[in-house]
Symmetry: C2
Subunit: 454 residues, 2 copies
């Protein structure tokens, strides 16, 4: 029953089995289990294991499969494992890796190891890799593979069919063959399904899609992903400035970009790196999280220094102190809702010059309406709790101010950060919370001081 | 230069052009611009437009293209537009939609319209749709299309090649043809690229991949997505309990699931629905966000009631009131870092019985270490600011307690919620913040009361 191994609970079971076999020292058994698994499954198990188990598993893995498994791992874990490998082993693994993944790995190596690895390669691999390295990270070039099959436009289909039969197996995930002229200029593409169904006497020119668009090699990987998503592509040709065909991008690499971009927004908003390794070592994780906590400490001290300005009020009215966290809290949540929406819109490329002003206006309006709604509710809640109608009014007024500001800030901060070329997913949350905390405390304590002390 | 239109800035330019043309009432021009665009591009422009522009654009769109455009829209906007359409227009659009998307749309219609739409369909379309509707939403069945091309195992390749040539064009995104026996039981698959390269005298049985795994029709769509990602599939067969081939799932629909799942985590953590429409109307958006704010109001009142327990302390020491927001704030950030990591791990299926205890232990350790680090730093900061060593010690001690709790709670809350079948991405953040606020205030105010008042 091949279907059963698909089930996630069974992946979990397999993990349990492996863990038990490791625990009782049955290394030969574990080795043979790992040998029988697909590279992607081994990678998944490594990702899901604590550091010590990982170390043992990694040593039990077939050297021949190292490359394929590295291909499938997340960046942080991949970097760690490679750092421990000898340059020879990296070079050996390299032979079995896709060009784009290999280029990624080489980029992260120290220079000395990098050169050693390059030298241990065959000259063919070396050329292939050196070319891939010439494209900046996070561009179409870095996602690209060079395993394209190209055709000339004036050849008949049956000649092509004979050629393909002699050539043998096509590269993985080939759905389109590309048509180029003698100078390798990109002319169009022919879907392999069309080769099967069309008249064999037709020429490539007759059946090729000349409207097929080539992706410029310098386009950002997020834009490439948007195009794939919007047009349901399985693969797409990559072309240089001179319209020469350089390679192709396949959907499996694009899926990784989509996943990474989406995770980047989610993890970034919580102050985490999207490469963060769920089962990474404790000390390293602790240090990685420190930066964000440092920034937050300053934000919290800033908020405290706002309260400090109203020490006199707080000395006289303990109730004010008790209630003063409510207004910043509601503003923070309302602002974060807007922020998440706008960050997603930016990531999807939905927000541009033509509509950003409208969007800010809309979020300001929502903030104001929510402010009206919640200032009334909080007014009633506090009046009921503390039996003090003035206090209820004060907190309601502060709430209205803070939630209106939160709507405006939640929409404009990420757009402003983007204009300044600062990543809104990373910085947006902290800047926003600081604004809503400061404004919230200032509004509530300021109103209280004005009305209660005068 | 067909490449240029790929550029996102040019999409933005096109949006500007459309907006201007609309503004100056050049509807005929707009209509012809929309007519020349791909359905996916029109959908993108609708998604990126404010409500009023959307209404006008929607009326200018060719009725013949409605189905394809609806296919490409986000759920909230799609639902809205369909509600405004006449049953006849929905039925007409239906003919041009994929089965899975159509089933989705029908599910969201009121019963009366639903029946009207079904009756306006051809009987062939009706059967196709009724079958798709029988599978629950969010399962493999609901992602599935029935446009499979099937083969028998004992036929020669050249017979198949002749058959395909007569049959004509293959369905979109076909990379594999499926092999079934007389009872439609699933036997395996043949990649179309292999049909091109293998010996025409071989039989299907010789070249078919019999190890190909079929996806059970009831598998959840997130698990389907994980399998596609892990195995780099372009399409996969879907089978029923009796091993009969029911249809196939293609990567373009899976990409939507991956995107939705990732967005769900991000938007959920900020208290937003992942279907939320960035350019939706104000009143509707305001109401959608209210639920989360209501819950937060209770959480904030709970925190305030903790402070209320220490009214005596707050009355005597205004400084305590000034500093009391720092400890909950740091705990909240630290806990949220852990929460984001664990929620992502759950979404990726990385966390199971075998490693969840290890993970909680690791996050507890990180929380404790961070607690030690930050209690020292905060101690120094407060000592320096307020020139009061006892106060520094109090806040440092509370910080250590709260950050340790935050690490433990950030890891265990989502795992606990998952066990209770509550969505951790949605509920996790609010539960966690409540815990870190309450514990943080309790620890700081409690320690202050104990040491300063006694």
């Amino acid at each position: 029953m091949p279907v059963e191994v698909l089930d996630n609970e069974l992946t979990d079971q397999r993990l349990n089995q492996l863990t038990q076999a490791l625990g009782s020292g049955m290394f030969v058994h574990v080795r043979s289990m790992l040998h029988d698994m697909a590279a992607s499954d081994v990678a998944f198990i490594l990702e899901s294991s604590p550091p010590r188990t990982r170390q043992v598993l990694w040593q039990l893995i077939d050297q021949d499969h190292t490359g394929e498994i590295l291909d499938e791992l997340g960046e942080e874990l991949k970097d760690n494992l490679i750092k421990q490998m000898s340059p020879e082993r990296v070079a050996k693994a390299a032979a079995r890796m896709d060009t784009d993944d290999l280029a990624y790995i080489l980029r992260s190596l120290p220079d000395s190891v990098f050169n050693q690895v390059l030298q241990s390669m065959t000259s063919q691999d070396r050329t292939r890799v050196e070319q891939a390295l010439s494209y900046p990270d996070d561009t179409a070039g870095s996602l690209m593979n060079t395993d394209t099959v190209t055709l000339r436009p004036d050849v008949n289909i049956d000649v092509i069919l004979r050629y393909l039969r002699i050539r043998g197996e096509l590269p993985e995930a080939t759905d389109t063959l590309y048509v180029v002229d003698k100078q390798d200029s990109f002319l169009g593409g022919v879907r392999i399904s069309d080769l099967l169904t069309c008249d064999p006497n037709a020429s490539i020119r007759d059946i090729m899609a000349s409207k097929l668009e080539g992706i410029p090699v310098g386009m950002s990987d997020s834009e490439v992903a948007q195009l794939f998503e919007r047009h349901d592509w399985l693969s797409a040709p990559v072309i240089g400035d001179d319209n020469r065909l350089l390679g192709r991008i396949t959907i499996d690499d694009v899926v990784d970009v989509i996943r990474e971009d989406a995770e980047h927004s989610m993890m970034g908003m919580a102050g985490m790196d999207d490469d963060a390794d769920t089962f990474g070592p404790v000390i390293k994780s602790t240090l990685q999280r420190s930066l964000w906590l440092t920034i937050n400490l300053f934000a919290a001290l800033l908020a405290a220094s706002v309260s400090n300005m109203f020490e006199g009020t707080l000395e006289q009215f303990a109730t004010i102190a008790i209630l003063m966290t409510i207004v910043p809290s509601m503003g923070g949540v309302a602002g974060n809702q807007t922020l998440a929406l706008v960050i997603r819109g930016i990531a999807l490329g939905q927000i541009g010059q033509s509509n950003s002003r409208w969007l800010i206006g809309k979020e300001l309006a929502i903030g104001f309406l929510n402010g009206v709604l919640w200032s009334v509710l909080v007014f009633l809640a506090i009046w009921f709790w503390k039996d003090d109608i003035a206090l209820g009014g004060l907190i309601g007024g502060a709430m209205l101010i803070n939630m209106t500001v939160a709507g405006f800030a939640g929409a404009s901060i990420p757009l402003l950060l983007k204009k300044m070329n600062i990543d809104p997913a990373l910085a947006g949350g902290m800047v926003l919370t600081t604004v809503t905390d400061v404004i919230g405390l200032f509004a509530f304590l300021g109103l209280a001081t004005f009305f209660l002390l005068n």
